[in-house]
């Protein structure tokens, strides 16, 4: 059995040792329960319960959606590393990456369902094609990619001993037969893993880039919605996603389940993350230079000054996106020399925040400060948006779902395959 190996977090109260895992799960279930209240309101009363308006039609949920997809960005990176480049020592970390991808994309799908005015028509893009639309392409990619991720995750889940040794399997033959069928499916899926990796890479690059392009095509909005957005979205997803993978790998493979992965491999994951984060910020700063230094755009400078008057907009760029990427990127790149997992973990959090912040700013900069259509004196109109408790509640639902499934998977999922154990 796997479970006895798990060393979960324990807290000492004097002499008493408290095993916090059940309390953590309890907390997450509370988060889901609170979320269900908001979800019920959204589904019965519609989007009038949100703080959204015709001027700011996309808000908190879109940011969560974009961030969840971005933070699943490590999946295709490690899909390539493990199944195409065949660097087998990353196999176990790669399985964690697949899990993160699956969680990220299912979370995104869930939160999008709330964001639709007509949630029951979520399947329309699959039937009614509009290949010119980036959102159509993203929907198709996400649906297909989620299928690929499920196919990649199934063999990992089925390796849990409960699926081969549970007494129920001998009691009910039909269960045994179903499990055998699933095992055969999993074996086949495992054998075509490289195909799935190529497919995953293609789909990932397509829609991660398109998420940036979603904003690039909004020529009427001005600010930041520039042509380099697709590249930046891909790179920041790879950087942020891999940083998150590193952080969670340390949590799972050093704290909860020590012994599965060597420290050397974790250092390498940190170095990969650091390299991508630095590459991303290099391109990002060039992009800043192109839009703000080498060219002057009245609309952009108007919007920037208006945004700065209501929020620390420039600060979120220079601190949240440049410094939060440069410093941790360097630390992660030098992981072997730093040789301290506490510092590395702290460093890995910052690119994750940076990735979310990029999406937050992309979404809001053009919506909060939009350009009027006045023919002679085009002005920047300041719109406002404050998320309601129902929006936070749904946010709590999907984030708790993510954390709950991750915690359970980190606790129970067998990351070592039976094939390699033989």
């Amino acid at each position: 059995m796997i479970t006895p190996e798990v060393k979960s977090f324990k807290i000492h109260f004097g002499k008493k040792e408290v095993y916090i895992f059940p309390y953590w799960i309890g907390l997450l279930i509370c988060g889901i329960a609170f979320g269900l209240v908001g979800a019920h309101q959204v589904f019965t009363r519609g989007l009038q319960v949100t703080g959204l308006s015709n001027q700011v039609p996309w808000g908190l949920w879109i940011t969560i959606d974009l961030s969840a997809i971005a933070l699943g960005g490590s999946t295709f990176v490690f899909g390539v590393v493990v199944y195409l480049l065949r660097i087998k020592r990353f196999e176990i970390v790669g399985k964690l990456a697949i899990l993160l991808g699956f969680l990220g994309y299912s979370t995104a799908g869930m939160v999008l369902l709330f964001d639709l005015g007509k949630p029951l028509r979520f399947w329309h893009p699959i039937i009614f094609w509009q290949p010119h639309s980036l959102l159509w392409e993203i929907t198709m990619c996400v649906v297909l990619y989620l299928t690929v991720l499920a196919a990649e995750l199934l063999p990992v889940v089925l390796e849990h001993p409960v699926f081969s040794t549970h007494p129920f399997l001998d009691k009910f033959q039909i269960l045994r037969k179903a499990i055998n069928l699933l095992h055969r499916l999993a074996d086949w899926l495992h054998s075509i893993a490289p195909v799935l990796a190529v497919l995953g890479l293609t789909l990932s690059l397509l829609h991660q880039a398109s998420l940036g392009a979603t904003y690039s095509v909004l020529s009427g909005r001005g600010m930041w919605f520039n042509q380099s957005a697709p590249v930046q979205f891909v790179l920041s997803a790879m950087g942020g996603g891999t940083s998150l993978l590193f952080f969670l790998s340390v949590v799972v493979f050093r704290i909860m389940r020590p012994g599965l992965v060597k420290d050397d491999i974790l250092y390498d994951v940190a170095r990969i993350a650091g390299a991508i984060v630095l590459l991303c910020i290099y391109i990002r700063v060039w992009d800043w230079a192109v839009t703000n230094y080498y060219s002057f755009d009245t609309e952009v400078s108007l919007q920037t000054s208006v945004l700065n008057s209501i929020a620390p907009y420039s600060a979120t760029f220079w601190i949240g996106q440049v410094i939060f990427a440069l410093i941790p990127g360097t630390i992660l790149l030098l992981s072997r020399r730093v040789n301290n997992f506490r510092i590395l973990m702290a460093a890995a959090v910052l690119p994750v925040i940076c990735t979310v912040l990029v999406r937050w700013n992309y979404n809001f900069s053009g919506l909060i400060a939009s350009i009027s259509y006045s023919p002679f004196n085009p002005a920047v109109i300041l719109n406002s948006y404050v998320p309601t408790w129902q929006e936070w509640s749904v946010a709590s639902l999907v984030i708790s779902y993510w954390l709950l499934l991750f915690s359970l998977a980190a606790h129970y999922l067998p990351f070592t395959s039976q094939a390699s154990r033989h």
């Binding site: 989007l47 039609p57 996309w58 094609w129």
Partner: protein, 273 residues
């Protein structure tokens, strides 16, 4: 042991190669189907001129007195609740500070950003250039609202229950209310145009076939008609006008709503407001 492993990895490779070819075949097949599917899809943007009518509107800013009748008639005829406006009248200023009223319906752009971004093709360009909505297809993602440079789209946040208080003073509802959760917009009163053409009426000339806002305007600031027909009211007015402008032309959306800019010598309607 190592041989066995080798064999195994060999079969794995073979399998994956074969599957890869199979998969590529399937994907190629799917790719080949795309043109067939999109042939059936509706036209997204005009660009090229067609022989049929292309409906357009001209708004003379010098004649607009800011009475909002266009907005009210639109609300009544299109069955809108009070907080939903297809048509908006705002007070703007010229560079020299002269105030004027700007009334803004949907621009019915020749190259409309909203039709390009809709993921399901719920918003599309009709043969006659009108940007229309299919309310049964719309999923309510609101990408079109984000994409529209003119803020011309409105979302149904609430369930429509009450008739507008503009009914019956400014008109009676001529179209059914839309569902909660879909985006809607000005249609150039396409229901009037379609029904009118069937009865051999001329949109822009006969009031029954002309958009409600044009009919309601007390000063005749709005002119409607077929841009392709040189005898239509809009073509005639356009040929007589030396200077017209369209909103945010730098975006290359090519709106089909033209404006006569305020003349410095003419008095604007601001004193009548």
């Amino acid at each position: 042991m190592s041989d066995e492993q080798k064999n195994k990895s060999q079969t794995e490779k073979d399998l994956s190669r074969r599957d890869f070819i199979k998969l590529s075949g399937t994907m190629l097949g799917a790719a080949a189907l795309v043109p067939l599917v999109s042939q059936g899809a509706r036209k997204l943007s005009g660009g090229e001129q067609t022989d049929g009518p292309q409906w357009g509107m001209l708004i003379d800013i010098n004649k607009c007195i800011g009475c909002n009748y266009c907005t009210y008639a639109c609300q009544a005829v299109n069955n809108l609740s009070d907080d939903m406006l297809y048509n908006v009248v705002t007070k703007e200023t010229t560079q020299t500070g002269v105030e004027f009223f700007l009334s803004r319906p949907c621009m019915h752009c020749t190259d409309a950003p909203c039709t390009h971004v809709c993921p399901v093709g719920a918003t599309y360009q009709r043969e006659d250039g009108i940007i229309a909505m299919d309310y049964d297809l719309c999923i309510g993602c609101r990408y079109c609202e984000v994409a529209c440079p003119y803020d011309a789209r409105v979302f149904n946040w609430y369930k429509h229950t009450e008739t507008s208080e503009r009914v019956p003073d400014y008109g009676v509802p001529e179209v059914p209310p839309r569902d909660r959760g879909v985006v809607e917009k000005c249609t150039f009163c396409s229901h009037r145009i379609d029904a009118g053409l069937e009865r051999n009426l001329i949109p822009g000339v006969d009031p029954q076939a002309t958009p409600a806002c044009v009919v309601a305007c007390p000063t005749g600031a709005r002119v409607f008609g077929d841009l392709n027909d040189p005898e239509s009211p809009i073509s005639k007015t356009l040929s007589q006008t030396t200077l017209t402008l369209r909103l945010r032309e730098e975006l290359s959306t090519a709106p089909k709503v033209y404006y006569v800019p305020p003349q410095p010598n003419t008095e604007t309607g601001s004193e009548n407001s």
